[in-house]
């Protein structure tokens, strides 16, 4: 209980410290990058709700991200770039994600985990094709630029908004996984048959998890497109899902802090490797490095950074207890 409180307070403290960044520096590049980190942290946390907490693998998480991004972009372009319409567009993205996640979830989650992974991959590629072909609405792969509401134009303001949203969603999701419903999700991850024999209906809980994850991912997509003020079909591609996967796996599955750390690391690493492209053209293919890193992480560090650190702490603690106990025994003896 005590440790939990410490981690809550430290997150809040880091959040407050990060609030001062826009007052210290005026570098727009850094601010945009930090904003992107916050947005991808939201996205990765939503992904971890599936992968880490419920044990569902999705290879199409980009579709929710893309749905949110496209609904915001299209509303800003077609209707009017005001705050009211921004909220409506976010809401539309959320509702669309809700519908899609329910349909995909109900169809495949009663089957083995492979089916959900396959079907999400297929549905996401379907969305990509639709976005490419429906040129009337999306302008295909060329994409389009749009204007954003004046409030969101100011980079420091938007930085703060994203930071607050990230922290808020962190606590909301934390509340969610600590709720009775969240506990059932974790039980499903550990042993689905046992949960079922206890009288729960796993399908209902799993679909709920995918809905919450999809809705959160859609919000991240809406924010992402506001940063760029431009959209094209790349929001539906595998790269976006891959980002979430890497951030979650490297940061630490089954924790909420892990994906946030992972988001920071991966964004910085991407920037760094892209800069190295001037040195040698192989660095343009950054997916190779991330892919190999990812495979190694799955084999050797399946719990990620946070998980590994937690293990060390637990080990150190048990050693300390070991040191203490023989003495106590002697005293008792």
């Amino acid at each position: 209980m005590k440790i939990k409180n410490i981690s809550n307070w430290s997150i809040l403290l880091v959040g407050v410290l990060l609030c001062f960044v826009p007052f210290v520096t005026n570098e727009t590049g850094l601010l945009i990058m930090m904003t992107n980190i916050f947005i991808f942290a939201i996205f990765a946390m939503s992904y971890d709700l599936l992968l880490g907490f419920t044990g569902i693998v999705s290879f199409g998480h980009a579709m929710f991200f893309g749905l949110g991004a496209y609904s915001t972009a299209i509303f800003m372009k077609r209707v009017e770039p005001t705050m009211e319409w921004f909220f409506i567009s976010v809401l539309v993205g959320i509702v669309l994600s809700l519908i899609v996640s329910i349909i995909v979830g109900v169809l495949t989650l009663r089957l083995k985990s492979h089916f959900y992974a396959m079907l999400t991959l297929a549905v996401a590629s379907l969305f990509l094709v639709v976005a490419e072909k429906w040129r009337h609405l999306t302008v295909g792969n060329d994409g389009f630029t749009f204007r954003v509401p004046d409030v969101l134009k100011d980079r420091p303001t938007f930085y703060i908004i994203c930071l607050v949203l990230m922290i808020g969603i962190f606590f909301l999701l934390k509340r969610f996984i600590n709720s009775p419903l969240g506990r059932v999700l974790m039980a499903i991850r550990e042993n689905e048959n046992r949960v079922e024999s206890l009288g729960f209906v796993p399908l209902y809980y799993k679909v709920t998890a995918t809905v919450v994850a999809g809705v959160t991912a859609s919000l991240a997509g809406s924010l992402f497109t506001v940063v760029l003020r431009y959209i094209n079909t790349s929001v539906f591609t595998m790269d976006i899902t891959l980002n979430a996967l890497l951030m979650t796996i490297i940061g630490g599955v089954g924790t909420l802090i892990g994906p946030m750390i992972g988001a920071g690391l991966i964004e910085f690493a991407q920037e760094w490797i892209t800069e190295l492209a001037d040195v040698h053209p192989i660095f343009e293919r950054w997916i190779i490095f991330f892919g190999i890193l990812y495979i190694l992480a799955v084999i050797f560090f399946p719990t990620g950074i946070v998980g590994t650190v937690n293990k060390w702490i637990a080990k150190a603690k048990s050693k300390r207890i070991e040191k203490l106990t023989p003495k106590d025994e002697k005293m008792a003896g």
């Binding site: 492979h114 992974a117 595998m238 799955v298």
Partner: protein
Amino acid sequence: MEQIINLLINGISTGMLIFLLAAGLTLIFGLMDVLNFAHGGFFAWGAYCGVWFYSVTGSFMLSIVFAMAVGLILGAFTEKVIIKPVYGNHIMQILITLGLMLVLTEMLKVFWGPNQLSSTAPEYLSGSWQIGNVIIIKYRAFIIFVGLLVFGIVQFILKKTRIGLIVRAGVMNKEMVQALGINIKRVFMYVFMVGSAMAALGGAMLGPYTGSIYAEMGLEFAILAFIVVVIGGMGSFTGSLFAALLVGLNQSFLAYYFSELSLAANMLLMLVVLIFRPQGLFSVRG
């Protein structure tokens, strides 16, 4: 009428290519419960190796053999290095094979560049026959022939030989087979290698069929193969042929009449199967 026959041949040959990919996928899944997301990568590697070797040696048949050899080696490597550490853990398997898929796709771009490669059929397979008003393109007939040949050979091995008996028994109940003193893991590795070689064969034959190849086609065809596996039933070999033909025909007819809808129609087909027969049309385990 001629148009319909042409589309029919077109669809069957596309179906055969998808079948080569899906058959390995479904056998591997049926035998060892491993869903290999990197399977499309073997397909793309087969295509690139085939085109490259053909341009070096000038012999199409040799290039197909070379592509299959690359498939065998890739399969052995994957089974030994990537899948062995994560046996029995479904989530890890799914995650790690997807990682391999991405690495394989990017490696293709490192070796051959990110642009499309053009590919041509050899002299004796290009051109067409004309029967009445119907034009049959030779290369498509060749694909259908090879597909049926592979289906026949694998079916013969599965149904008539001892190793086939072990594989079929393993799909039904692998613990029992193991209890009878058979090293099912080694059998699995052979099946994995053969499945990879079949995927590479499919890739090598795709090049001259579409005229150009690119690295991302691995994932695109893998998605079609997944659809096939879901429709046909996981672990069913005959089911994968049937479903692949269905998907191929669907693809070719819809691509002709409403080109935008072909993937959507296949997805719809899969959704219908998932609603009414979630275990697939030809399920082994019922």
